[in-house]
Symmetry: C2
Subunit: 380 residues, 2 copies
């Protein structure tokens, strides 16, 4: 992480079948992943490091943009998620373009995951004749586009008319507006584009993307992180077997990780310290040191459970329920033919039922009164 940043993981992620390639349809892209890797970044356009206050990891990298309107500018270099969203997802193997896209998104205040996912969807819609050159204002929306990405991002940022207005809505709304089979190409849940980790590679992410309170988020659960071997589930007292592409015990596994992450996110803690195999007990000691409280590890897990479920109750009140805990069909039915997760099609029913039971949610995905009492939330 210090040497190559999170983008330094992209070749490893590719080799595990976890990297989204060509809008989640392909299973391997070895050469491409090498070309856009953090290792390549370090050898080419990287100009330095940056870090949060007092951090010894210093995962942040800086790069000099060499193409596009901000040529010559020095800014944050792409992280893993951005490298995948503007790289493998659209088969663009040009690292400098990715760096320029990242810089543009940072300046415009746009999310790189959502932006890249929306463009990938639009490419498939174009390929299927649902968008024409007239709709795209002359842009050939094809796999592997490079400079065109910068043009589209600028149009999205100034989203008053045309293709810019269309795509600035994000992947779900844009696909719905395009209509026809375009929603097939919108890889999202609850309106948020998936992070760049594949639930067919690490099936804990099925439970995560389907039930995360804000949609296709990878920060509410480190399932991909844990199943990939970087964090031991034993830290959260989870000791049942969990085969990466399987379904046994996945629901419970995901819940343990989600509950702990909910506390981590609330405290603003960095996910990478998890590599030090952090337990809820350790987190409780930090909280106690800062506050003078007297929490245990169990208290921390309970707090996470409460936090997660309060958000769920909020969503429930807005009308969300089990019917919204769904994944795009591509995640369930498209068995990529190559890569380490080739052929994996998640057993959605079992994974989700396991999660519902462990969460003590009822059949409609609503928290049971029993569970509310257990969490002291029965007055809400």
């Amino acid at each position: 992480l210090h040497d190559f940043g999170t983008l330094g993981t992209i070749q490893g992620v590719e080799s595990e079948g976890d990297l989204p390639i060509k809008n989640w349809t392909l299973g391997s892209w070895e050469e491409g992943a090498y070309k856009i890797s953090g290792q390549m970044l370090a050898e080419t356009i990287q100009t330095g490091h940056h870090a949060c206050h007092a951090c010894t990891i210093r995962c942040g990298k800086e790069a000099k943009v060499t193409v596009g309107p901000y040529k010559g500018a020095i800014g944050h270099a792409p992280e893993y998620e951005t490298g995948a969203a503007f790289g493998s997802l659209i088969l663009n193997d040009n690292l400098e373009i990715i760096a320029a896209c990242n810089d543009l998104c940072n300046r415009y205040g746009m999310d790189t995951i959502e932006a890249g996912s929306t463009i990938a969807m639009a490419i498939e819609a174009y390929e299927n004749g649902l968008l024409t050159k007239r709709d795209t204002e002359g842009i050939e929306l094809k796999w592997g586009i490079k400079e065109e990405l910068l043009e589209i991002l600028k149009k999205m940022a100034n989203n008053k008319v045309g293709i810019g207005r269309l795509l600035a809505q994000g992947v779900k709304r844009a696909a719905d507006e395009i209509g026809g089979i375009a929603p097939e190409f919108a890889i999202q849940s609850k309106g948020q584009a998936f992070a760049m980790h594949d639930p067919r590679a690490y099936t804990t992410m099925v439970a995560d993307y389907a039930t995360c309170n804000r949609g296709g988020c990878h920060l509410e659960c480190l399932g991909y992180f844990s199943e990939g071997g970087a964090y031991s589930a034993k830290c959260v007292d989870f000791t049942k077997p969990s085969e990466p592409h399987g379904y046994e015990n996945k629901g419970e596994y995901a819940v343990r990780l989600m509950n702990f992450m909910t506390v981590f996110n609330s405290l603003g803690l960095c996910k990478f310290i998890m590599l030090g195999q952090i337990t809820p007990e350790m987190a409780s000691q930090w909280i106690n040191a800062a506050t003078g409280w007297n929490l245990t590890g169990k208290d921390v897990e309970l707090a996470g459970d409460r936090l997660f479920n309060i958000k769920r109750m909020y969503n429930n009140r807005l009308g969300l329920s089990r019917k919204d805990d769904v994944l795009p069909q591509r995640m369930l039915l498209h068995d990529r033919q190559t890569g380490a997760a080739a052929g994996s099609l998640p057993y959605y029913s079992r994974i989700m039922k396991d999660l519902y039971d462990y969460r003590k949610w009822n059949a409609e995905g609503i928290i049971t009164e029993e569970k509310k009492k257990e969490l002291g939330l029965d007055t809400l």
Copy 2:
């Protein structure tokens, strides 16, 4: 079938876990099924038989209505689907009320499956506070309602205002209009209420309900019929093992049955002659005898494949694709605790992928050019 009509199967269907009970949430209802059975009908209000021209089966029954506005009238007695839709689905164990509902629907020209399913959905919506007594114009919408069913059906038939207008839209649209979690209770696909056979009991029906061209239809595929033992899949040359609650070979199994049924439906043939283990070869001989053609059994299967896929292409043109080949979450995540199919949660991904591959549909559920050529449909 001659003695008790199709309603005579309801106890057997219940014992197999195939009967929808309390809007598809329960797994057994032994006493209720007995009370509304064809056997009970024969002992009570049945007045005679009726039959299609020259039929020796004579599965139709007549009954004297003893309640409601048409008291005393003699009409068609409820068939199995109607008995389930106005009986087990809403926990109404009163056979006379079911007969009266059937009679009302016949006179009004309303589909009994869709009407019963819509009322069952509305009961759950009422139970969950999504409909109030004010919405229902004073009707207590509860499980086991009886006379109230007749009142609601009349309002639905005169569908200008209020609860009648709401429910007359059918289960999907009514649930969408009610909003909130009401779509959880709408057991349908592509806008059509499921027939009264449970895809958790006979998982071939997963493939059927998800891909049938007109939605949750049981006449496009006799999966429940075949897996229940009444028709041998060997008749359509299907010899691979298929465990009722399993997923292996289900896609192919469903396709074989669907293709043959598509021909049957086009010819207007009765499904019950299938009990005589009718093969495509036999059907080809009937067609040849009537037309002077010279078809083989293989030709008949090919005709079915063509017919099914032409309808699919029509649907595709209207924007339907894989994203529409879905089942309600209840079918995937609700593992009924009792009955012969208790605990069964279909492996949707595998069943569907198997079907897509066997159909030679692409990943978006569109017929491949290769398959179109094979069927001689490449000019369409």
